[in-house]
Symmetry: C2
């Protein structure tokens, strides 16, 4: 294991400290318990809080700021944050309109966010993301996993919250975006959790894991390496089998890298996926390509399709100012 770390026990706080220093115009870091908030507390909006295990950066810390999250609660690598983190974060950012948690569907995250929600002295609701169509249940999950589509949910709900919309409306939009979003990923290499010191799983030089989870959970099948077009065809088929988009639907196409795959290859995947979607009668009007929901140093990528409508497109396009997504402001 070769990583840029000092002591494994210090990795998380050192990384968060670097993040907060580099983006001190945007975020403020609070330690013990660990959470990050916007540098300037906004008024008269639902407070959006997300979180989860670290190792998926820029998710979620990179999405704190105008038009997206109010706070994020990072757990240790691939480990759920604890309820005290969510409670303190909520105390810090709630401003009279309640708290909406956005939680990826992993058993530990669900349990700890639920505990925080029960103790919270504010009106609150939770959107659970579950966009990964690869498997119905998984190593750490009952039901479908939440993966890169979470970024689209956070962007759209974040936009609506800035308008002063109430908690019920924000929760409803989050659930709607999640229901119209489907993803699937593929790994070419494993990743190594620093505290474990060895790869999470083994893949040989001629294999891929189709449908991998963002912690290296098993997918649908282990199979021989194939061409980009063949791999993308399977991902797109699985996504469209789930979404069943009507002919002529307008979609957002996201190609998300897990870290170790060069941007040059992500655009090969985009090229292939875009052609297939067009052949299926879909219109790609919005795109996002890059590393947004990562798996430590894993080589691999996921494809996400979101069925747009006027409401979702408008919230996707609205201004956002975070470390990892920024436009229109």
């Amino acid at each position: 294991m070769k990583k840029f770390i000092n002591r494994i026990d210090d990795l998380l706080v050192e990384s968060l400290s670097g993040f907060a220093a580099a983006h001190r115009d945007l975020v403020t870091l609070h330690l013990d318990p660990n959470y990050l908030t916007r540098a300037q507390k906004p008024n008269n909006k639902v407070a959006l809080i997300s979180g989860g295990g670290s190792g998926h950066e820029p998710l979620h810390t990179g999405f704190i700021g105008y038009g997206m999250l109010d706070a994020a609660c990072p757990g240790h690598v691939f480990t759920s944050p604890t309820p005290d983190q969510m409670l303190e974060a909520a105390q810090a950012v709630e401003n009279g309109k309640g708290v909406l948690f956005i939680v990826k569907n992993y058993a530990g995250d669900i349990m700890n966010f639920e505990m925080a929600a029960e103790m919270l002295p504010f009106e609150n609701a939770t959107v659970v993301t579950s966009d990964d169509v690869a498997v119905e249940n998984s190593t750490y999950t009952t039901g479908r996993r939440g993966v890169a589509g979470t970024v689209i949910v956070e962007k759209c709900v974040g936009s609506l919250a800035e308008t002063g919309a109430d908690l019920a409306a924000c929760k409803a939009l989050g659930d709607k975006v999640n229901s119209r979003t489907a993803s699937m990923g593929v790994a070419l290499t494993s990743c190594t959790v620093p505290a474990a010191g060895r790869p999470t799983f083994d893949l040989d030089n001629h294999e891929l894991e189709m449908g991998v989870g963002i912690h290296g959970e098993p997918g649908r099948r282990r199979e021989p390496m194939r061409t980009a077009d063949e791999i993308v065809a399977d991902l797109v088929d699985a996504i469209l089998d789930d979404l069943k988009p009507p002919q002529d639907s307008e979609v957002l196409l996201m190609v998300n890298g897990f870290t170790g795959t060069p941007l040059m290859e992500l655009y090969v995947l985009y090229n292939s996926a875009a052609r297939l979607l067009q052949e299926r009668g879909l219109h790609i009007t919005r795109s996002l390509v890059g590393d947004y929901t990562t798996s430590l140093e894993m080589a691999g990528a996921s494809i996400t399709v979101c069925l747009l409508d006027d409401e979702i497109r408008q919230h996707w396009d609205s201004p956002v100012h975070t470390a990892a997504l920024r436009w229109g402001k």
Copy 2:
């Protein structure tokens, strides 16, 4: 070698096609010879053109757009573009105020851009970037290599060009930014050029290459793996030995990933470098952390320090709208 490709011969065009499709609001792809231009041709500005071997994305294609480049000429992986690419690109984007080439200092790039410049029917000049302090001459280079600091040069000159400044002023600012910018990188793994099919160099599980080039060229020394703080101390020492910044200087600190290093670790490097710069009496007022000048799938990173002044800071802050850098617009 496991990569998301179809045929090796199609990799570049498929990747460029995906890039152009995903960002069709920003760029237009021209094939045979290959170059990309802004989707809308601007008026009354010096035309900025960069280029170089592919495999360093988002450099340079990701920096085409308002406030940065007018065109980019991508060669094959780690291979210089040819003069016909630069000539056609210049014909497409020149709009009466001449052409400025921004070229990283590699022998092949220098030769081919010079050939293009000699044939060009427009007033033209060239800024050669040479920010890598690791070694004086290298595998493909006479003099210092141009690496991630090129992004800062392209951003600042791009900003000045938008104001209608003339060719001499743009060239002078580019040279000035380059002279005030220093970088050094470290590799934890090699990368594999697709056409070669095997790693460019060998590093074992306990070694790093200090001062590596962005094509895997040898650096200062091969050495045992150490802590992040120890590695960063060597990088920062080398950079500051070169820059010799006066006490209380204001600087931009960039931590650039080569691809395979997780963002979480890049922020550990930032945290460490920021502390060292502050201890040396420098004030970090601008930051950039992420994968901006990559080396295919290499794990590793570089640190860049740019000595700011009012002029450079203003051009860094000005609006930019490209696929890989976007703010203020």
